[in-house]
């Protein structure tokens, strides 16, 4: 093995790192160019940048996969995805179906909204019931206090992926939500069992997303990975996207349990320590009624909600997701098993 001259010392060396010698000029001609741009192209604000990136990802999914689907729950994050998909393929229609895995424990307001929205954007809606999977597979359902079908959704989701041979599922997960999600790639590879292997994620370089897979495998794609909760709200406000009514202040019969307020419903197990109260609340996230806590709030417009989110001192999941309060690695374990 012989040693060649050291990098960058000699001007005639055409090696890889010597470009810097006369490189800074780049920044200068770029500067002069920017000033000649007209106002609408001059500067994208930060929401434009996030939107542009998310739309790029949406189009990569549509371009790289044969049978993608968009996971749509009627929650604010997947509602944002639907808006982004509309914009990405305008004036055409969204070129993939919306899929909802219905636990049967959803807020009725969210499922109504789901149906309305799918119709509004002219997209095909596929709904699969966790109840059916439980019956067909003889799954054992968690019982007792704080029992949730959250984990069982995974079975139905994997069955649905198999049924329709989906090779990509677009999801509204954000990296700011939870520390295991903070680690996940934008194109997140799943093996034939739907599992995420956090220790062997594919390198993801620049904006070159690698969606190559073998049959039976699939990829979960997260276009709003880099958005925060506040970004989503700011975008909904800017785009004037209608939301399910539970995101705004309303009167509701609630179960007061361990300091959390849960919406009362017949299927929620209650015991003597639970107190039923009437409260003015809104929901900051929309999950299953069994594991989503409300916040007491008078905020009845999007502006008021955004103002409250700006001032809050508690994280979204910490405040509203009872399932994540249970162990430090709850999300990581669910994801390894195929959860979105």
């Amino acid at each position: 093995m012989k040693v060649k001259k050291s990098v960058g010392y000699t001007p005639d060396n055409q090696a890889l790192f010597d470009l810097n010698v006369n490189y800074p000029i780049q920044t200068r001609y770029i500067m002069s160019n920017i000033q000649s741009l007209s106002s609408d192209a001059q500067r994208q604000d930060y929401l434009d940048q996030l939107e542009s990136e998310a739309i790029y990802i949406m189009r990569e999914v549509a371009g790289q996969f044969e049978r993608p689907a968009l996971l749509f729950s009627g929650g604010k994050d997947s509602i944002t995805l639907v808006r982004l998909a509309q914009k990405a393929f305008a004036p055409g229609k969204i070129p993939f179906p919306l899929v909802h895995i219905d636990t049967g424990h959803n807020f009725p307001e969210a499922t109504q909204y789901r149906d309305w929205m799918a119709n509004e954007v002219g997209a095909k809606l596929i709904v699969r019931q966790v109840e059916d999977t439980i019956k067909a597979k003889g799954l054992k359902e968690p019982t007792g206090k704080n029992a949730s079908r959250n984990w069982l959704q995974t079975f139905t989701l994997l069955d649905t992926i198999e049924e329709f041979e989906f090779d990509a599922c677009i999801g509204g997960a954000r990296r700011d939500e939870e520390k295991a999600r903070a680690k996940e790639r934008i194109f997140s590879f799943r093996d034939e069992f739907g599992q995420w292997d956090p220790k062997r994620q594919r390198p993801e370089l620049w904006n070159l997303f690698n969606g190559k897979i073998s049959k039976g495998e699939n990829v979960r794609c997260f276009p709003i990975s880099n958005w925060t909760e506040l970004d989503v709200w700011a975008y909904i406000e800017r785009e004037k996207i209608p939301l399910p009514s539970i995101y705004f202040s309303h009167q509701r019969e609630m179960i007061l349990r361990d300091g959390n307020l849960l919406a009362n419903a017949d299927f929620i197990y209650k015991d003597d320590s639970d107190v039923i109260v009437n409260k003015t609340v809104r929901f900051r996230t929309v999950g299953d009624m069994t594991c989503t806590a409300a916040v007491e709030s008078e905020a009845s417009t999007i502006e008021q909600v955004v103002a409250e989110i700006k001032a809050t001192r508690i994280s979204e999941r910490g405040e509203t997701r009872i399932d994540d309060q249970q162990t430090e690695a709850a999300m990581e374990d669910r994801k390894k098993g195929g959860y979105f």
């Binding site: 790192f17 542009s52 990296r175 520390k179 700006k310």
Partner: protein
């Protein structure tokens, strides 16, 4: 309670409303990576930035306090905020990149916490590839070490425009100016060999909070900016290449409805440069030319679009275009060739790259088969010298290689056009991304 913890408590209790001063209309985004060796304090630095900008919420802080107590080391371990995987927490190391977000009134920050261990370098490259700025941490007690050299090489190779060297743990060397100057000088020597455009060296203590958000009282001899001040003010808008118009087609929009019967829009993202209505364009690789009839941004017509905006372009004439094609403005043309020279960072821990091997090359939105024609040299990480007569590349090797593609591709030099000069190699059997290529032209 340790003194560092005391100070943290104080900062946190002065917490006021978190986002009340955000200027949504003028905010922009800065993506930065923290790199450096194991235990240089990368995760702690991010934790500190999050903490001092009041971006850690009460319940998250409580969880970290609880976990720190369980570990029994007395102090709040801010690294626990970013080490999101069970095995990371168990081993106390960072395995994969963690993304964290915080905001100050005029900027949204996407922080990318990269692993320090050599075997996870490919994850560091993943994080660095999209960064506008890199913070390279150096332990003031250790000075420049091998990982400093490796990460500096990678950041410069990736063309990250701004580098901040944080000489950390200054509290453990008595806040000594001499130590700082010595390390700064040593780093400057290293930087002279690399393509570093904008270099800043700051003495800090991430644990104690010196020169992170507030100026350190313990280092009156340092009169420069604090870390956050620099991050808030560094200009990234001008790092974009707005000179060479490139647009890679991701998807063809053809609604085929009655009212939009003849609509044919090429959806993609402006990789670099500016496109205006009426511009003459060339499509690669076919080299057909046409004119831009219309530019739409999500269904709305606009006069022009610039990088890095997503858009839809409609042409005046019928040209055969599909996903993978590149629309280029006239003026500087890309290179159209089947021969590609590139700097590569090899990322496969299972198989080596050997001359004659075949891969799929993904460049822009196109994928093409290629074979490795030769390895010109490998870079020795310790002194940046080029080693010749190399037969194969192992995990984390950096080298210059020559590829031959099955069909011509239209590329620019990475150093002047990051978007159209980047490519990845994909293993044809496992489908895994195995190489990061920076193309030369």
């Amino acid at each position: 309670m340790s003194s560092a913890e005391c100070r943290m408590k104080k900062t946190y209790s002065t917490f006021c409303t978190r986002h009340s001063t955000l200027n949504f209309d003028t905010m922009d985004i800065l993506r930065f990576i923290t790199a450096g060796s194991v235990d240089d304090g990368k995760s702690t630095l991010i934790g500190r930035l999050l903490y001092d900008t009041k971006s850690i919420l009460a319940d998250q802080l409580e969880a970290v306090e609880k976990a720190s107590k369980t570990r029994g080391d007395g102090e709040i371990d801010l690294a626990l905020l970013t080490d999101g995987l069970r095995s990371e927490r168990e081993q106390g190391i960072t395995i994969d990149v963690a993304y964290k977000y915080f905001q100050t009134p005029n900027r949204k920050f996407i922080s990318i916490d990269a692993p320090g261990h050599i075997q996870y370098t490919r994850n560091m490259v993943t994080g660095a590839s999209n960064a506008d700025l890199a913070i390279i941490l150096i332990d003031a007690r250790q000075g420049v070490v091998e990982q400093t050299r490796r990460h500096s090489l990678i950041t410069s190779m990736l063309g990250i425009p701004h580098i901040v060297v944080a000489v950390n743990k200054m509290d453990l060397v008595g806040y000594s100016e001499d130590t700082f100057l010595q390390i700064a000088q040593e780093y400057q020597k290293l930087a002279d060999k690399l393509a570093i455009k904008d270099l800043k060296i700051i003495p800090v203590s991430a644990l104690a909070g010196d020169n992170i958000v507030d100026k350190s009282e313990a280092m009156p001899w340092y009169t420069g900016e604090t870390m956050l001040h620099f991050l808030e003010n560094v200009d990234v808008q001008h790092d974009l290449n707005l000179n060479d118009a490139r647009f890679s087609v991701q998807y063809v929009i053809r609604p085929q409805t009655e009212e939009l019967h003849d609509y044919r829009g090429y959806a993609g993202r402006v990789q670099s440069g500016v496109f205006r209505k009426g511009d003459t364009i060339t499509v690669f690789p076919s080299e057909q030319t046409s004119k831009i009839a219309k530019i739409e941004v999500y269904g709305q017509e606009v006069e022009e679009v610039s990088a890095p905006q997503s858009a839809t372009i409609l042409l005046e004439t019928d040209v055969d275009i599909s996903r993978g094609d590149l629309i280029s403005g006239t003026g500087n043309s890309p290179v159209l060739s089947q021969d590609v020279e590139a700097t590569i960072c090899w990322m496969d821990d299972r198989k080596e790259l050997k001359v004659g091997n075949k891969y799929t090359l993904q460049h822009g939105t196109t994928r093409v088969r290629c074979s490795v024609k030769g390895i010109e040299y490998r870079v020795d990480i310790s002194n940046y010298e080029q080693l010749e007569d190399i037969e194969s590349l192992k995990l984390n090797d950096v080298a210059k290689i020559v590829l031959r593609t099955a069909k011509p591709i239209a590329y620019d030099a990475y150093q002047t056009n990051r978007a159209n000069g980047a490519a990845i190699l994909i293993d044809e059997t496992s489908n895994v991304t195995v190489g990061a290529c920076m193309v030369e032209a």
